[in-house]
C-alpha cells in the first residue's frame, strides 16, 4: 500500500497521513523521524518525515533499476544509509547527491543494513547455484568514507527472512548473525566483520530451553528488536517451537559477560500469534482464542489482560505493537483481515478499533433496508402472518400510527419541532427509513473481510472474515418489509484454482452457504432469473478454461432450469481484460439437458482490435445507469432529437503502439462497432489512468494529453438515433442484432485536476438531471451537472433556439467550483470506485466513493424539489392555522351582529 499514517495510541485517530504515489516498502521510526522507502519502476525514493506533524523533513531520489531495497538511520546522525537498486549510499539531509555511494556485488540481493560504530554491513542473500548452496554475502564498508573494508560469504544454507536466521544489533557488543542450519540443532553465531574464526558454535541449549532434536529442527527464530533504538544494549529475538502439540514462543536476550557472549530467556508464551517489543526490555505476546484475544506483557512489571474478540469477524492476530500510556501498557494488534485494535488492562472491550479492511475494498453493494414498520403494521402482520399487507393498507396503517403518535405527543406536551427532515435520530445501522436514505453498504475486501457499514454514520453492523480474497459482492435477495426471509449478500472470492461463493445474511453477517466452485472465472454478473428454491438472484460466471462456458450459481439443476424458463438470450465476453488484442463474444446455449450447473457457450462474434493496439480497459453501464425518463432531447424549435439507448454499449480503450489511444464503442451482443475515436498523443499509464463512465446515451471518458498545453481531457460522446430531429426508430422492440447505428455528437473539455475515478448519479426515475462525479486526486469528490458536459454546447454565443434548449456557450475548462464538492473539507484519498444508487425521493441520489478512504453522501443534482426546505417551520404552520381558526371563531359573532344590524336598518 502507499499510505503512511500516524495513529494516536489513546484514541486511534489519525494524527497525520501521507499518501505516496508508489507503494511503501520499508517503514522505520526512530525518535522523531519516520523513514520510508518506496520505489517506482525506475526510481527509488527515501523520505524522512517529521513524526509529529507528518511534514516531509527531507527526501532523496535516485534512478535505481531494482528499486529501493532497505535503509537504516545512522546512529547519532541524521544521515540515512540505504540500498537503492544495486548501490549502497549514504545520504545527508537536504543533499542532492549521496555523501558516498558504492556499487554492490550484483549477485546478492542486499536486504539488510547494520550500522555499527565505524562500519556499515550490507547483508544479502546469494541464491543457490549448482556449485554452491544458498548463503549470505556481507560487505563491510567504512561509515564515513564508503570504502570497502572486507567482504565475505557466510551462513551457508540459510537466508534472510527464512525463519532460521536473525540479525542482532547491540550498541556495545557489536552486530551478530545467529542462525541454525537446516537439519542441524547447532547454533552458529557470527560477529559481523569477524572473519577469523568465522563463527562460534553453541550448544542447542543456548537459549535456555531444553528441546528434543525433532522439536528443535522445526523451530523458527525471528527478530524482535527491528527498531534498535528501542533496546540497543541487549537485542532480543524469539524462538518458536512446538512441543507435544503446543506452540511455545521464547523471547531470548543477548548479553555479554566478559568476553563471552551469552543468551538468556526473558519470557516465554504459549500459543502466541504475535510478539511485540516494547521499551525498557518489555515484550508483549498476543494470543487469539475462540472468543477473544489474550495478551501478556513481560519484562519489568507484569501485565496481562484479555479482550472480547470474535476472530470470525476479522481473523486472527498477525502483528502486535506495544506502547505505554503512562505506565499502563497498550497493545495494538493487527489481524489478518485488517482490523486494528488497541487493548488495555482495565477493559475487556478494545479501547478503540479501526477497520482497515475497508482500505482494501474491492467491491461494494448497497442493501436497501425496509422502511421501519409501525406497531400497527406489526400488529396487522401478527394477526394474519400469511397476508403481506398491500401498500395501500400499509399507508393507512402508517397514518393511523402517526396520528396516534401525534395525539400522544400533544397530550404529553407540545413537541413539534421545526425542520423538514424527520427521522434523523440515531438508529441501528440495519434499520431503514421512509425515504430510502439509510442503506447498508456491504464491502468485500481483498483481505478477505466482508463488512457492512451503515450509510448514515459509518457505524459497523457486522463483519465476517472469509479467509479468501473477495473480489465482488452482490445482493442476491433484497430485504422486504415485515418479511421473515432475510436479505442475502453474496461474496465472490478466488483461491488459486477455485471460486469461492459465500452467501451471508445481509443483516447479521451469518454465513448461509459457502460453495467452492472448481473453476477460475474471468467475470461474474447477475443473471435475469431467480433460484426457485432460495429466491435468490442467480449469478453467472464467465469461464474461459477449459472451454468457454457460463457457470451458474447456485450450482443446481433447478437454477439452470429457472434460467432456461426465463428464456432470455445470454451473451458475455471473454478477452476483455487489459493486454488483450481481441474481444470475443459468446452466446450461452440453454439446452434441455441440465445435467451440469453450467451452460455451454458458442462464439457469437469477435472484435479484433486494429493491428498494433492492445486493450487498456473495458467499461459498461453500471446496473440501471442506461435508464432514461426522456426518450429524446427537446430542441429550441420544439423538435426532438431521440436518444440512442442501448444497455449493451461497451466502451473499449486501447493503447496504440504508435502512441495515443483508441476508444471504441461496441454493442456487446452483436460485437458491432458503434463509434470509434482516436486520440493521438494521449497517454495512459499507471500515473495517468483511463477513466470512463456510461449513463443514458452518454459516454464520458478522461485521459492525459501531454504537450503544450497539457492537461486531462474529458471527452463526452452522446449517442442519438438520428442526426435529424423528429426522426426515430418506430419499432416497439429493438434488437442489438438489427443494424442500428447511432448518430454521434462528441466534444471534449479540460478537467480541472487529475481524477482517480468517474461516476454518474442515479435517481429512481431518471427525471432529475444527472451529476457527473469526479474523484479528484487532491481528495475531493466533485459533482458537475451534466449540462456542463453537454456536447451540444455551441462554440458561439447561443442563438435563441439554443438558449431555449438550455445550452450555454462552450468553454473548454470544467470549473472546480468548491460548492460542487460533495466531500466539502474532508480529504477523501485514493478513490478507486464511485457508485451511485437511487432513493425513494426522485430528487436525491446516494453517492458512495471508496478506495483507500470510504465516503458516503447523498446529493440532489436538481435541488431538493420534493422535500420541505430544512428551514420550513412546522410550528409556524400550526400556529398560523390556529390563529386563522381563532380569527374565524372571534370574527363570526361580530359578522353575525353586523348582518343583523343591517337587516334592522
Amino acid at each position: 500500500r502507499n499510505a503512511v499514517a500516524a495513529l494516536r495510541a489513546d484514541d486511534g485517530q489519525i494524527a497525520w497521513r501521507q499518501v505516496l504515489s508508489e507503494p511503501v516498502g520499508t517503514l522505520l521510526a526512530r525518535d522523531d523521524r519516520v523513514l520510508t522507502l518506496s520505489s517506482s519502476s525506475s526510481d527509488a525514493h527515501v523520505h524522512v518525515w517529521d513524526a509529529g506533524s507528518g511534514a516531509l523533513a527531507w527526501g532523496f531520489s535516485q534512478a535505481a533499476g531494482g528499486g529501493a531495497r532497505t535503509a537504516t538511520f545512522v546512529r547519532d546522525s541524521d544521515d540515512v544509509i540505504a540500498v537503492l537498486g544495486d548501490e549502497l549510499v549514504r545520504v545527508a539531509p537536504g543533499s542532492n547527491t549521496p555523501a558516498w555511494s558504492l556499487a554492490l556485488n550484483g549477485t546478492a540481493a542486499y536486504k539488510r543494513i547494520v550500522v555499527h560504530g565505524k562500519s556499515v554491513f550490507a547483508i544479502g542473500n546469494v541464491a543457490s547455484t549448482r556449485q554452491a548452496k544458498q548463503q549470505l554475502h556481507v560487505v563491510e564498508v567504512d561509515t564515513a568514507s564508503g570504502a570497502v573494508k572486507t567482504q565475505y560469504s557466510t551462513a551457508e544454507g540459510v537466508s534472510l527472512g527464512g525463519g532460521s536466521l536473525v540479525v542482532l544489533e547491540s550498541r556495545e557488543y557489536g552486530a551478530y548473525l545467529v542462525w541454525r542450519e537446516a537439519d542441524n540443532i547447532v547454533w552458529h553465531i557470527h560477529r559481523l566483520g569477524m572473519t577469523s574464526p568465522m563463527w562460534e558454535i553453541y550448544h542447542a541449549k543456548m537459549v535456555e530451553v531444553a528441546l528434543m532434536p525433532p522439536d528443535m529442527l522445526t523451530s523458527t527464530i525471528a527478530e524482535l528488536d527491528t527498531d534498535p533504538g528501542l533496546n540497543d544494549a541487549t537485542p532480543r529475538f524469539t524462538l518458536t517451537y512446538t512441543r507435544d502439540g503446543t506452540q511455545k514462543t521464547v523471547v531470548v536476550e543477548m548479553y555479554r559477560t566478559g568476553d563471552k557472549l551469552e543468551m538468556r530467556k526473558i519470557a516465554s508464551f504459549t500459543d502466541s500469534t504475535a510478539v511485540a517489543a516494547g521499551a525498557q526490555r518489555t515484550v508483549a505476546a498476543v494470543r487469539t482464542s475462540a472468543d477473544g484475544v489474550a495478551w501478556r506483557v513481560r519484562g519489568g512489571a507484569k501485565h496481562s489482560g484479555d479482550a472480547v474478540y470474535e476472530s470470525s469477524t476479522y481473523g486472527g492476530v498477525t502483528h502486535a505493537a506495544l506502547a505505554f500510556v503512562g505506565s499502563a501498557p497498550r497493545v495494538v494488534v493487527q489481524t489478518r483481515g485488517g482490523l486494528l485494535a488497541a487493548l488495555a488492562g482495565d477493559s475487556r472491550e478494545p479501547v478503540w478499533t479501526r477497520d482497515e479492511s475497508l482500505a482494501h475494498a474491492a467491491d461494494m453493494a448497497l442493501l436497501a433496508l425496509p422502511p421501519p414498520a409501525s406497531s400497527a403494521e406489526h400488529a396487522a402482520k401478527e394477526t394474519d402472518p400469511s397476508v403481506q399487507p398491500s401498500a395501500a393498507i400499509r399507508f393507512v396503517l402508517r397514518w393511523v400510527a402517526t396520528a396516534q403518535a401525534l395525539v400522544e405527543s400533544v397530550t404529553s406536551g407540545f413537541g413539534i419541532g421545526s425542520g423538514g427532515h424527520g427521522g434523523e435520530h440515531a438508529a441501528a445501522p440495519t434499520e431503514g427509513d421512509h425515504f430510502g436514505f439509510r442503506r447498508l453498504a456491504v464491502f468485500g475486501s481483498t483481505t478477505g473481510v466482508v463488512a457492512a457499514v451503515g450509510s448514515q454514520d459509518g457505524a459497523h453492523a457486522w463483519a465476517h472474515y472469509l479467509k479468501t480474497r473477495v473480489e465482488r459482492v452482490f445482493i442476491t435477495r433484497g430485504s422486504q418489509a415485515l418479511s421473515s426471509a432475510a436479505p442475502i449478500v453474496v461474496a465472490v472470492g478466488r483461491t488459486r484454482n477455485a471460486t469461492v461463493v459465500t452467501a451471508l445474511d445481509a443483516l447479521t453477517g451469518k454465513v448461509v452457504s459457502r460453495d467452492s466452485l472448481p473453476f477460475a472465472y474471468t467475470r461474474v454478473f447477475e443473471l435475469p432469473a431467480s433460484d426457485p428454491v432460495s429466491g435468490q438472484r442467480l449469478l453467472g460466471f464467465a469461464v474461459a478454461e477449459p472451454t468457454p462456458r457460463l457457470a451458474v450459481w447456485p450450482a443446481t439443476a433447478e437454477a439452470v432450469r429457472a434460467l432456461g424458463a426465463a428464456n432470455v438470450p445470454l451473451y458475455f465476453e471473454l478477452g476483455d481484460g487489459a493486454g488483450s488484442t481481441a474481444v470475443q463474444g459468446f452466446r450461452a446455449e440453454i439446452g434441455d439437458d441440465v445435467a451440469e450447473p453450467w451452460l455451454a457457450a458458442q462464439p457469437a462474434w469477435t472484435f479484433d482490435l486494429p493491428a498494433g493496439e492492445t486493450l487498456i480497459s473495458t467499461s459498461r453501464y453500471e446496473d440501471g445507469a442506461f435508464h432514461t425518463a426522456l426518450q429524446g432531447r427537446v430542441l429550441g424549435d420544439r423538435s426532438v432529437l431521440y436518444k440512442y439507448i442501448n444497455p449493451h454499449v461497451g466502451a473499449l480503450a486501447t493503447q496504440r503502439s504508435a502512441g495515443g489511444i483508441g476508444v471504441y464503442l461496441i454493442d456487446r451482443v452483436s460485437g458491432r462497432l458503434l463509434h470509434a475515436a482516436e486520440h493521438a498523443g494521449a497517454v495512459v499509464s499507471a500515473g495517468h489512468p483511463f477513466l470512463a463512465t456510461l449513463s443514458e446515451n452518454r459516454v464520458i471518458y478522461q485521459f492525459w494529453q501531454p504537450g503544450v498545453p497539457a492537461g486531462y481531457v474529458t471527452a463526452v460522446v452522446e449517442l442519438f438515433e438520428s442526426d435529424q430531429p423528429d426522426t426515430r426508430d418506430e419499432r416497439t422492440e429493438v434488437s442489438s442484432l438489427d443494424l442500428r447505428l447511432p448518430s454521434v455528437v462528441a466534444t471534449a473539455f479540460v478537467a480541472p485536476e487529475a481524477a482517480t475515478a468517474l461516476g454518474t448519479t442515479r435517481t429512481g426515475s431518471s427525471i432529475t438531471t444527472r451529476d457527473v462525479l469526479f474523484a479528484l486526486a487532491s481528495g475531493k469528490l466533485l459533482a458537475l451537472p451534466d449540462a456542463m458536459l453537454d456536447p451540444r454546447r455551441p462554440m458561439h454565443a447561443p442563438t435563441k433556439d439554443e438558449q431555449a434548449e438550455g445550452l450555454v456557450a462552450y468553454s473548454a475548462p470544467l470549473p472546480l467550483d468548491p460548492r460542487r464538492v460533495l466531500s466539502h473539507s474532508h480529504s477523501v484519498a485514493g478513490i478507486a470506485h464511485v457508485r451511485s444508487a437511487p432513493t425513494h425521493l426522485e430528487s436525491t441520489s446516494l453517492v458512495a466513493a471508496f478506495g483507500l478512504d470510504v465516503f458516503f453522501t447523498r446529493t440532489s443534482p436538481s435541488g431538493t424539489f420534493d422535500q420541505l426546505s430544512p428551514s420550513f417551520s412546522k410550528a409556524n404552520l400550526v400556529i398560523t392555522s390556529l390563529a386563522l381558526v381563532a380569527g374565524c371563531l372571534l370574527g363570526a359573532p361580530m359578522v353575525r351582529r353586523k348582518l343583523t344590524n343591517r337587516a334592522w336598518a
Binding site: A55, G779, P813, L816
Partner: protein
C-alpha cells in the same frame, strides 16, 4: 535528470504554510512526479527531464495557480527553468512573464465549500408568486370598492350602461 525547486509563500489567504504539509502536494503532469511539501512550504520535484511540464499544487483546502514549467538547456549547456502562469483549458502563452526561480507560489483562494443558508427575507417572501396573487386579491377586495366610491356617480352610470 533535473530537479525542480519551489516554495509556497504565506499570504493573506494562507498564513501558515505548515498546514499544507499533509494536505497538499506539488504535482507535475497530473501525477507523473510528485513533491512533498515541507514545513516551511518548500518542495522539490525530482527526476524531471528537459521539456514542458505542468506544475500544480494539489491541495484539499486551497486553490493555487497552475504553472507551465519549461526546462531547457542554454548555449553553455546549463539547464534553466522558465515558469509561467497558465490557465487550464487555454493555450500556454509564451508572452506571459517568466517567474523567478526557485519558484515562489502563493495560494490564490481558500475553497469555500458551503453555500450559506438563506435566512428570512421580506423581499423573497414578497417575490413569491403566491404572495403576489394574495396581494392582487387584497387590492381587488379593499382598494377597488374605494376607487368605485370615488368615481363620479354619472360616470359610473355611464359605465354600467355600456
Amino acid at each position: 535528470t533535473y530537479r525542480l525547486r519551489g516554495a509556497i509563500l504565506a499570504n493573506n489567504v494562507l498564513s501558515d504554510v505548515s498546514e499544507l504539509a499533509t494536505r497538499a502536494h506539488a504535482v507535475v503532469n497530473g501525477g507523473e512526479h510528485r513533491g512533498y511539501i515541507q514545513k516551511d512550504g518548500s518542495f522539490v520535484v525530482e527526476n524531471l527531464t528537459l521539456g514542458d511540464w505542468l506544475l500544480e499544487i494539489q491541495s484539499a483546502d486551497y486553490a493555487f495557480p497552475k504553472l507551465h514549467v519549461r526546462i531547457a538547456t542554454n548555449d553553455e549547456g546549463r539547464a534553466s527553468v522558465a515558469a509561467r502562469y497558465v490557465q487550464i483549458g487555454s493555450e500556454w502563452s509564451e508572452d506571459a512573464p517568466v517567474l523567478a526561480y526557485p519558484l515562489k507560489i502563493e495560494a490564490s483562494a481558500k475553497y469555500d465549500f458551503f453555500t450559506p443558508r438563506q435566512g428570512f427575507s421580506i423581499i423573497t417572501m414578497f417575490s413569491n408568486p403566491y404572495m403576489l396573487m394574495v396581494g392582487a386579491s387584497l387590492v381587488a377586495i379593499f382598494i377597488m370598492p374605494k376607487l368605485q366610491a370615488n368615481l363620479d356617480p354619472e360616470a359610473l352610470k355611464e359605465l354600467q350602461e355600456k
